[in-house]
């Protein structure tokens, strides 16, 4: 809690805080705290209200400043409270709560301008920390309010007590901010984005739903209740058809009779062997924070993002979990040949089955293998069986017994993609074909405005891939055989009429997709947010290089420096308005008049007024007396009688005089002879 006792008694007293600044400070504090309300313990909001009322009462001379003892008690109490509510004093959540607490308490004990400065700087820092929790477009726009009020408070701090109205201060703050925008944009565009210097506690994404590294049959059905965004993808070329949009996240290779989970082998970062075949798809993805290290990609994807590797099961994995929105570009080869050479480790892992259980399924596998010795034929036969037999696609499957595969395949026959994928993998393995479950997302919603695809949690999907020598891995989706609508159109269309889509979130705009104007509004807003994510939030390393490369052929120091100087020059011109220096231009014209007459041998005496001088001039040049007098009169009218307006009249008179007077002094002398 730095700065709580910043004012040492032995230092010279700093002047008190002007009223206008206190007004702005109280308002700014409220605005800074608003975005934190959901992220700090609610008791802090109570503390803030109490402290604000106390501070106002102090200002109204109705209350005393807290004594040192009270301050100490508040400090310890707040820290203890944060410890209690957050279970510790380290970590981003606790740190933010402590920061806000310091911000609140500092306001209470603020006496001098120096205290107020500390408070304002603390406020700016709080806004930055707030960005770690909330970074969407609306919050970002909202934070312009606390920023400008903090700036107004900073300006008000310098103003004298008498001469300030709060409105003027705020206007000046806004003006400053507006003028700062071009410079900020230049810096934002060109400042090199560095890799994190050291690792810091990240905002907890515990609450984020999403795929996990193990899957029981009911898990994906739970995900289907969530409309949360997973990622958005924009394709450089045409968007592939929906039934080819299988976004791989990870593979589940270990089966314990009930759950499918990630194998230990998958953690070893041994790059698989594969051949690029066919035309690649190029696209970029902006991924929402997931708290997991997997990146979504179409098969078989490759990205040049640093710290991301292709793992042995062809998934893309980042060294650190995705805790911030992440932008990456991928090239995918859908027709790639993957691991066509036999790999012992693969075969051993992907034939793993529990020693006992599901005898019916094992028996059926043996039957199938006898009839279809080729793996491809066997898989096709299974798909045909799924499609012919009365299987149902439902989010509410019945509970299964100990032999879950048998129960599902031969008894209930009602299930979700996880059931089908798990059952098919089991049977393939039982038939001696290496196979695994792939978890990821399928499909997504096309936004016609932005021509990109939004994938949400309810698009979560599981499918199967099996391996055969010489061919490698091949993907197959049993769900497509049971419920083709799920693949072709989406979850909503695949569900039976009695099952409600997004039953748990009645307010979701996605439920009103059939109301055209709501849907149009939703899609446009989504498009704006995507742009925000891609061009602002995602403007990190790669994106920056991309943009700079496209506009300026890389980082262009002269462009950068020139831009900054140019912007500053323009703002300086705007601030000082040299063209508006009316009094000076009057004088400049009079100086011109003086120089003109001096060329003809008539100099103005020290201290001689404009009128006296022109009378003398009129006597010396009687032919031009009228013009000279007219100029002098007009000059006086402008300069002393407060006649404002343009100086064109005065300028015209000077021109007349210049024309009327003979060019050379000698010519004049000749005239007089």
């Amino acid at each position: 809690m730095k700065g709580f006792w910043a004012t040492k008694p032995d230092e010279s007293p700093s002047p008190p805080i002007p009223r206008v600044s206190l007004t702005w400070l109280l308002l700014a504090q409220a605005l800074v705290i608003v975005p934190f309300v959901l992220h700090v313990p609610l008791a802090l909001v109570g503390l803030w209200l109490a402290c604000t009322i106390w501070r106002i009462q102090i200002f109204r001379m109705r209350a005393q400043y807290p004594s040192t003892l009270v301050k100490l008690a508040l400090l310890v109490g707040t820290a203890a409270g944060v410890f209690f509510f957050r279970g510790g004093l380290v970590g981003l959540d606790a740190g933010a709560a402590l920061l806000i607490a310091a911000f609140i308490l500092k306001m209470l004990e603020m006496k001098t301008r120096r205290d107020a400065l500390v408070l304002i700087f603390l406020g700016f820092f709080c806004v930055v920390v707030g960005y770690l929790f909330e970074d969407n477009l609306l919050w970002a726009l909202f934070t312009l309010l606390p920023i400008s009020t903090l700036l107004a408070a900073l300006i008000g701090l310098q103003q004298s007590n008498l001469a300030s109205k709060p409105g003027g201060t705020f206007k000046l703050a806004l003006k400053l901010l507006l003028q700062a925008v071009p410079l900020m944009l230049l810096l934002f565009l060109f400042f090199p984005r560095l890799e994190p210097l050291w690792s810091l506690p990240q905002p907890s994404n515990k609450g984020v739903t999403g795929l996990s590294d193990s899957m029981a049959p009911g898990d994906i059905a739970e995900l289907s209740q969530s409309a949360a965004l997973v990622f958005r993808a924009s394709f450089d070329g045409p968007i592939p058809p929906r039934n080819q949009q299988y976004w791989r996240a990870l593979t589940l290779e270990q089966f314990d009779g009930r759950r499918w989970s990630q194998s230990a082998r998958a953690q070893i970062g041994q790059a698989p062997q594969w051949q690029k075949l066919g035309d690649p798809l190029a696209y970029s993805i902006v991924m929402e924070p997931s708290g997991k290290p997997w990146l979504m990609a179409l098969d078989t994807g490759e990205t040049n993002l640093p710290e991301v590797r292709q793992m042995s099961d062809f998934r893309l994995q980042r060294r650190r979990p995705v805790e911030q929105p992440l932008l990456y570009t991928v090239n995918s080869w859908p027709q790639a040949r993957r691991e066509n050479q036999p790999a012992i480790a693969v075969v051993r892992q992907d034939l793993q089955l529990p020693a006992k259980g599901n005898p019916q399924a094992r028996q059926w596998a043996a039957d199938l293998l006898r009839r279809y010795p080729k793996p491809d034929d066997l898989a096709q036969a299974m798909l045909a069986w799924f499609s012919d037999e009365p299987f149902h696609y439902t989010l509410k499957p019945p509970t299964l017994g100990a032999n879950s595969i048998d129960d599902f395949l031969f008894d209930s026959r009602r299930g979700f993609c996880a059931h089908y994928a798990g059952a098919m993998t089991f049977v393939l393995r039982a038939a001696g074909i290496p196979a695994r479950v792939v978890a990821g997302y399928q499909g997504g919603e096309l936004n016609p405005d932005g021509r990109y695809i939004s994938v949400r949690q309810f698009d979560a999907h599981a499918w199967v891939e099996y391996w055969q020598p010489g061919v490698g891995w091949r993907s197959v989706d049993p769900t497509a055989a049971v419920a083709p609508q799920r693949i072709e159109q989406g979850l909503e269309q695949a569900l039976a009429p009695d099952e409600e889509f997004l039953a748990d979130s009645p307010m979701s705009a996605l439920r009103y997709r059939n109301v055209p104007w709501i849907n149009a509004l939703r899609l446009s807003w989504d498009n704006v947010n995507y742009g925000w994510q891609r061009w602002v939030l995602g403007y990190q390393g790669q994106q920056q290089l991309l943009v700079l490369g496209r506009w300026f052929s890389g980082f262009d120091a002269p462009v950068f420096a020139g831009g900054i100087v140019g912007v500053l020059g323009l703002i300086a011109l705007w601030l000082f308005k040299p063209w508006q220096r009316e009094s000076d231009s009057q004088l400049r014209l009079f100086n011109g008049f003086e120089r003109l007459l001096a060329r003809h041998g008539l100099r103005r005496e020290q201290g001689e007024g404009a009128q006296a001088f022109s009378r003398r001039a009129a006597l010396q040049f009687p032919a031009q007396a009228e013009v000279i007098q007219a100029f002098a009169d007009e000059f006086e009218a402008h300069r002393y009688a407060g006649q404002s307006g343009s100086l064109t009249g005065l300028r015209r008179r000077l021109r007349q005089l210049r024309r009327a007077l003979p060019w050379r002094r000698t010519a004049l002398r000749d005239d007089r002879h």
Binding site: D135, Q158, S160, L575
Partner: protein, 318 residues
């Protein structure tokens, strides 16, 4: 080290901002530097940048750059707040040693408003003023009068940290303000010239023996009498306007003499100063004699001023 550099700095300043009684602040005369708050602001920006880098947060980058740009623009705004301000020296009244000198300054705006302008002799004790657009503000500053003679006001510091307080613009101006400081009046026996005026001699001695206020009696007030000598107690008792009279010394021409006093020069001048004031108050004509200098017998405000001036400048204008 700093003490050694001071004369160099002063010489440079005289060349840079030559003395004048009316100075318009412009880019030649304005300096600008970050303040200590500015350093703290910079530190906060660095912290914010670290947050932005470590969390790879674009909005944090954005706010950091916005505040950095505001600071850069602050240079223009802070400079503008001082530039165009016209400062001129106002009149100043002479005072006696030991009294504070009141110096008036006029701050004029030739265009935009100037807010929170601080003026003072050093950077610690400053007086604040606001100047509205195309308006005029007056500030009164005090200086202690330590020695008699011409007091030349030191360079005036004009500064402002408005609007952001992270930068300070300032200028050191020499407005050629000078004030004549009179010696400190010290009461004591009247130092009269001896041996020149026979009549005066006796009275002078008598006066020395009796004390300073040789009070004679009361007489009826006549127009032209000094109001300070009105006897208010009598007036309040209903006895009409009476004037305390000091007739014993009037009627003689007095000559205050420097040589009639002992002690060092300053003490003598102080005593003479006291009597110049005293006799002027009584509206009594007197002459003043200093070595190599004589002011003939006279009375009135102008005479008193001339005497005080002579005393103030004694031995100074060589």
């Amino acid at each position: 080290m700093i003490e050694q550099l001071k004369p160099i700095w002063q010489r440079w300043l005289v060349r840079r901002i030559p003395p004048a009684s009316r100075i318009e602040l412009n880019h030649r005369r304005i300096f600008i530097m970050p303040t200590r708050s500015g350093a703290v602001y910079g530190l906060v920006l660095v912290l914010m940048l670290l947050v932005a880098i470590n969390y790879q947060n674009s909005l944090a980058y954005g706010l950091t750059f916005l505040l950095l740009s505001v600071a850069v623009l602050g240079i223009l705004h802070t400079y503008r707040n001082l530039s165009g301000l016209i400062i001129s020296a106002g009149s100043a009244r002479s005072v006696f040693v030991g009294e504070p000198v009141q110096l008036r300054l006029r701050l004029e705006s030739a265009g935009h408003a100037h807010q929170a302008i601080s003026v003072g002799w050093d950077s610690v004790q400053l007086q604040q003023a606001d100047v509205a657009a195309n308006a005029l503000a007056e500030v009164e500053l005090t200086l202690p009068a330590v020695t008699r003679g011409w007091l030349r006001a030191p360079r005036l510091r004009v500064e402002s940290v408005f609007p952001l307080s992270i930068l300070r613009t300032w200028s050191w101006l020499d407005l050629e303000q000078t004030v004549l400081i009179y010696p400190r009046p010290v009461p004591g026996a009247m130092p009269l010239l001896q041996g020149v005026q026979p009549h005066a001699e006796d009275d002078g001695l008598a006066t020395q023996g009796q004390g300073v206020d040789d009070y004679h009696g009361l007489r009826v007030y006549q127009p032209g009498d000094n109001r300070r000598r009105l006897h208010w107690k009598a007036y309040s008792r209903g006895q009409g306007l009476l004037v305390k009279d000091f007739t014993d010394l009037s009627g003689h021409d007095l000559c205050l003499d420097f040589m009639a006093l002992g002690g060092d020069i300053e003490e003598r001048l102080s005593r003479l100063c006291h009597w110049v004031l005293e006799l002027s108050k009584r509206q009594q004509p007197f002459a003043l004699r200093l070595p190599d200098f004589l002011l003939p017998v006279n009375s009135g405000e102008v005479h008193a001023q001339a005497c005080l001036r002579a005393l103030a400048l004694y031995g100074i204008r060589s």
